[in-house]
Symmetry: C2
Subunit: 251 residues, 2 copies
């Protein structure tokens, strides 16, 4: 947020001025009561300038999502076969967090505004949907040809978005206090644990019954290196060993 | 869909007539080109009758979601402590599927319409969001006081909705052919396997490092009865036994 940097500004000043004027008016008068004419008058520019940057009044509330969506798509496209897919989409989701955390005061203001205005809530849902579809499209590509590939892709994308937003919204509700990054890392860790390569259970193959079974683990790039064993705590050790050996094909 | 039943009709005939007239016009002229006046003229009723049943033109496209949301909320509220929470939300999601499957031709028509009209897509996103929040609210109640309770609730609700919609949309894309129930059961089974009581891994406690760890398993009603052991396939047996014992607190 420093203005003394020698680097060229990434965002045109007029665009920033329009966002600042819009939020000043939204907070003073309310969102519905503010027109585009009011915004351009305060910013000292013409209507055409507004619409050059923002297709509608809703868009000025979320001025950075298009850039963030483009960054996310580029980040996902830049990955290779060696990237663990669930980790990659979690890292992609962190780009959204970074955008919010760049300017906590603005993000908290917008959060309060969005909660109050149903039209903005609907707009936000459509933005969240686009992030989710970007993550799902990447995962669908990575899981192509695998059993339940599109299902797994859609479920994991939704889980990543939900975890990210759970942490993000807690942070916004706390007025941007605390470290949003730590909270989001914790939430995304939950999803990685549930779906990432090492601990993804294989639902279709409860080889050993409902309470005690082993599976071949994750079926993606390295299908054979992990075994997930779920067992009752009171199972006798000999039985656990037997099932483990059996799952490995050693018995 | 039988009209010979002696039971009283659940939906008023005028409401059905408005939905039928609306869809006839949407398909003939397009959604945007059809006004509420056109719809009421074809149905032979006044504008006031339309708005008695539907707040807006969008609502006539999704005439049964309000009832379904109410049914879902009632179903969730009717559950007891003995219900496994993830299974309960999966069963709640099946109420939505049932609504679509009741009338495949109408559901397929609407799916095609929704894909073409951005305003309807936005409306549908807001409906999906309300289902997701109903499921999440139930899970937050069930997980109250547990570590990461709201996070787990939000992630599972999102995963259930994504799995349900993955199967539902495949069915709609196939023009309503095949058994939607079987497809949705399979998709929800995936979520239950990932998050249900028996196989929910405990992300926050990778006690034994990234490749070989044990955890206390699911932390809901019966926190201590399941152990999830994730191990490399090439791990020596002595190490697996050691870690299992250690996870049980026996060692």
């Amino acid at each position: 947020m420093s203005s003394s940097s020698a680097a060229p500004a990434a965002k045109p000043p007029m665009r920033d001025a329009l966002v600042a004027a819009a939020f000043q008016l939204f907070l003073e008068r309310g969102y519905e009561q503010t027109t585009v004419d009011d915004i351009v008058a305060l910013a000292g520019v013409g209507r055409r300038s507004f619409f050059r940057y923002f297709p509608s009044k809703e868009d000025v509330v979320f001025p950075d999502h298009e850039r963030c969506l483009a960054d996310m798509t580029e980040f996902l496209a830049g990955g290779g076969e060696e990237d663990e897919p669930v980790r990659r989409v979690c890292d992609a989701a962190r780009l959204v967090l970074r955008m919010y955390a760049e300017n906590p005061a603005f993000s908290v203001q917008r959060y309060r505004l969005t909660k109050k205005v149903p039209g903005l809530r609907a707009y936000e849902l459509s933005v969240v949907w686009r992030y989710e579809r970007a993550l799902a499209a990447y995962l669908r590509g990575r899981f192509a040809g695998q059993p339940d590939g599109t299902l797994r892709a859609d479920v994991i994308a939704a889980a990543v978005v939900a975890a990210h937003n759970n942490a993000l919204r807690s942070w916004l509700r706390s007025d941007g206090k605390g470290d949003a990054g730590v909270a989001v890392d914790h939430a995304l860790g939950h999803v990685q644990a549930a779906f990432g390569r090492s601990v993804h259970p294989r639902p279709a193959a409860p080889l050993l019954g409902p309470d005690l079974f082993a599976s071949g683990g994750e079926r993606s790039e390295r299908p054979d290196d992990v075994v997930v064993l779920v067992t009752r705590r009171d199972a006798p050790l000999w039985r656990v060993v037997q099932e483990f050996e059996s799952a490995l094909g050693r018995a």
